[in-house]
Assembly symmetry: C2
Homo-oligomer: 128 residues x 2
């Protein structure tokens, strides 16, 4: 582990636009992705835009998943922030890729919260 | 504009740990940051962890702000996802830096949703 958190920034291109514009489906996909990746869901909030698009956030005990969709471009932006080792973001990545029917998906994996050694020493916690 | 969205990944080090562990204060800081940066708030959700730490998400019409705090490391991870030009993430960045009393703050600015030219042509929208 190189930081307190791991942040996946995922680009889903070539998705099914009808799925991207369906709030209930997007909600179900997000919840499935969170659950199967090992996360504990604390709350979910989704919003349907007019004329199109959905935004959604799933707050998990291990941080969050968020989605923003552009059906007109068959595109969804997803980010998954996790801490600890209980959650496997790749499981969420694959579930969402399949269920959004994305033909081209990619992710950036960014390490968050690199704590200076002096601070770690103070807390006496050695998990970094 | 080089993409549909703009994603700030912000690292706040050297924060005041009492502020980082205070749900009401963190909530107020997030709401202020969203409002003053020009965002329209749709919903907020915050959670206090035991023994310490706060997670929070503000869903805005222009996407989202999220925070995860580690008082024991005086550290907060924030991300701000915006689309369009109404929201100035730098305003949010500065408000949060000041109110979390961060002595060392940095951000990565990542362009999200670069749409292939063929897709843009189909929609007839030329704003990219």
């Amino acid at each position: 582990v190189t930081g307190l958190g791991q942040h996946f920034l995922i680009e889903y291109h070539g998705c099914n636009p009808e799925i991207l514009d369906n709030l209930d489906l997007v909600k179900d996909i997000m919840i499935s992705a969170a659950k199967y990746s090992g996360a504990t869901i604390l709350n979910t909030f989704l919003h349907k835009f007019s004329p199109q698009g959905v935004s959604g956030v799933v707050v998990i005990a291990e941080s969050h998943l968020a989605i923003h969709t552009w059906p007109e471009y068959k595109y969804a932006a997803v980010d998954i922030f996790t801490c600890g080792t209980n959650v496997d973001p790749w499981v969420a990545f694959n579930i969402m890729k399949e269920r959004l029917q994305s033909t081209e998906a990619s992710t950036r994996e960014i390490s968050r919260g690199k704590i200076p050694y002096q601070e770690i020493k103070k807390t006496g916690q050695g998990f970094l």
